[in-house]
């Protein structure tokens, strides 16, 4: 068994075509996950009756089960549910019309939401109560105070952990292969299946993932620098 360095390059070039799929899955799951996470965090912090408990249950269940399991549950469960509802109400909708990547979007958003809920919650709790009181004292309503005073500060605190979540979702997107979505890792497998040079192909995939991760780290660093202007950290 010998390594074929030139095939690493060949594979790398072929894998480029799968990058958009990976990025779209990551972007959708992170964006939707952020919204779900924000709502979940607020429901828990404000201890909203019923919804707060549901939010807590959601976080516990999702964090307590693997991401792959979420994908499989959605992939097999959602069509059953939708078809049953469709038949009940005569929507004329068939679950087979959902594109495969749709299952990845839904399930990964649910996964990301639970992890991000905790990140955002910790960020919100890190904002001093005095900030909210000051906002009230100048006459702001609670939504104004949250939007203008609390969220920007919470976001700044959460940023390093949020970038962790983004990277986690980037790497997690490889699981989409199990529902036949061809992202970078799946593409590597396909590329290698013609000549069995799996090691070279996966090495190429690793290089691309590393590159994308570096990019995310760079972008985070730039944002962090911008929104943390006001902060003089406790350590540095």
């Amino acid at each position: 068994m010998k390594i074929d360095p030139s095939f690493i390059w060949t594979a790398l070039v072929q894998l480029l075509s799968a990058i958009p799929t990976t990025l779209v899955i990551t972007a959708v799951s992170v964006t939707a996950g952020f919204v779900i996470g924000l709502i979940t965090a607020l429901l828990r912090i404000y201890k909203v009756p019923v919804l707060g408990q549901i939010a807590t249950g959601y976080v516990t269940f999702i964090r307590g089960t693997p991401m792959l399991t979420h994908l499989l549950l959605i992939y097999f469960g959602l069509p059953m549910l939708l078809d049953a509802l469709s038949a009940q109400f005569g929507w004329g909708f068939k679950s087979s019309s959902i594109p495969m990547i749709g299952f990845a979007f839904i399930s990964f958003s649910i996964t990301a939401g639970a992890y991000m809920a905790e990140v955002i919650r910790s960020g919100l709790l890190a904002v001093n109560r005095g900030q909210l009181e000051a906002a009230y004292s100048v006459g702001m309503t609670t939504p104004q105070a949250l939007r203008r005073i609390v969220f920007p500060q919470a976001l700044a605190v959460s940023l390093p952990n949020l970038s962790n979540s983004v990277i986690g979702m980037l790497h997690g997107s490889t699981l989409a292969f199990t529902v036949s979505v061809v992202e970078i890792n799946a593409k590597a497998q396909i590329v290698a299946s013609t000549n069995w040079k799996f090691f070279e192909a996966y090495l190429a995939a690793a290089v691309i993932f590393w590159g994308l991760t570096l990019l995310i780290e760079r972008i985070t660093a730039v944002i962090e620098k911008r929104i943390n202007l006001y902060n003089r950290g406790g350590v540095a």
Binding site: A134, Y136, G139
Partner: protein, 250 residues
């Protein structure tokens, strides 16, 4: 005019305020004194509903609110009548000095940005911080931060400014600059309620001094009277402890 009627407040089973009545005339400076735990800060925070009174009535200007039936909208209305200067300054950490003062004007009073800016700059100059407009709170000293806090409160042109121990968190050297600013605006006839331990300030600036202990107003009156001829035993004890140079006969 501010009128508090039968204000009560309990934290669990512990009653912190017991049916407090207090009237503050327009343009008056009222200083509230008392040992820690006497309820003075809680009373102040009740005036703008940072603490929710269990019972009583708050009237500021022509706005009247019964604490038992206050809706969110009522509370929002009431809060716009007052402004607060906090012990820990509580400047918006992610905003510059100028943005801190502008925030309420733009978001709450809906002033055009340019007008809000002009007004805010004038106020920051008034408190001696014309050169620190673009500084973040973390770049300012405690005294400077508190002066921004005062400018932020002034900007709203409230019926009353509430000061919650505005100098207690400051280095002794910085107390003077903040008190000087408060004296200056007191002279301009702005209604103020001040919780403080600065006896000199209370003597010189207050029109009316209130001594609280155990959730009730023990004694109140003009500063000359209250400081020189306190009637109640509890007041004498307190004043003797914090101003030992004054010898009261107990």
């Amino acid at each position: 005019m501010i009128k508090l009627t039968h204000i009560s407040k309990s934290f669990g089973r512990h009653q912190v305020l017991k049916q407090i009545d207090l009237t503050v005339e327009k343009g008056e400076v009222v200083v509230i004194l008392g040992p820690s735990g006497s309820g003075k800060t809680t009373l102040l925070r009740c005036v703008n509903y940072l603490e929710k009174p269990s019972d009583g009535e708050i009237a500021i200007g022509d706005y009247r609110l019964s604490c038992k039936h206050a809706s969110k909208k009522d509370i929002h209305q009431l809060r716009q009548k007052s402004a607060m200067v906090f012990q820990q300054y509580n400047l918006f950490k992610h905003k510059t000095a100028l943005e801190n003062v502008m925030e309420g004007l733009v978001v709450v009073k809906k002033l055009p940005k340019e007008e809000a800016k002009t007004r805010s700059i004038a106020l920051l100059e008034k408190v001696g911080l014309g050169s620190k407009l673009d500084a973040y709170p973390s770049q300012l000293s405690g005294g400077q931060q508190q002066r921004v806090g005062i400018a932020r409160a002034l900007a709203l042109e409230p019926e009353v400014i509430l000061f919650d121990e505005p100098t207690s968190a400051l280095d002794p050297e910085l107390v003077g600059e903040v008190l000087a600013v408060i004296r200056k605006i007191a002279k301009e006839g702005i209604t103020m309620i001040v919780v403080t331990h600065e006896m000199g300030f209370a003597r010189d600036v207050a029109n009316h001094v209130v001594f609280m202990d155990g959730g009730v107003i023990v004694e109140e009156g003009p500063p000359a009277e209250l400081f020189n001829h306190p009637k109640e035993e509890r007041t004498k004890q307190f004043l003797k402890r914090i101003t030992p140079e004054l010898n009261y006969s107990i």
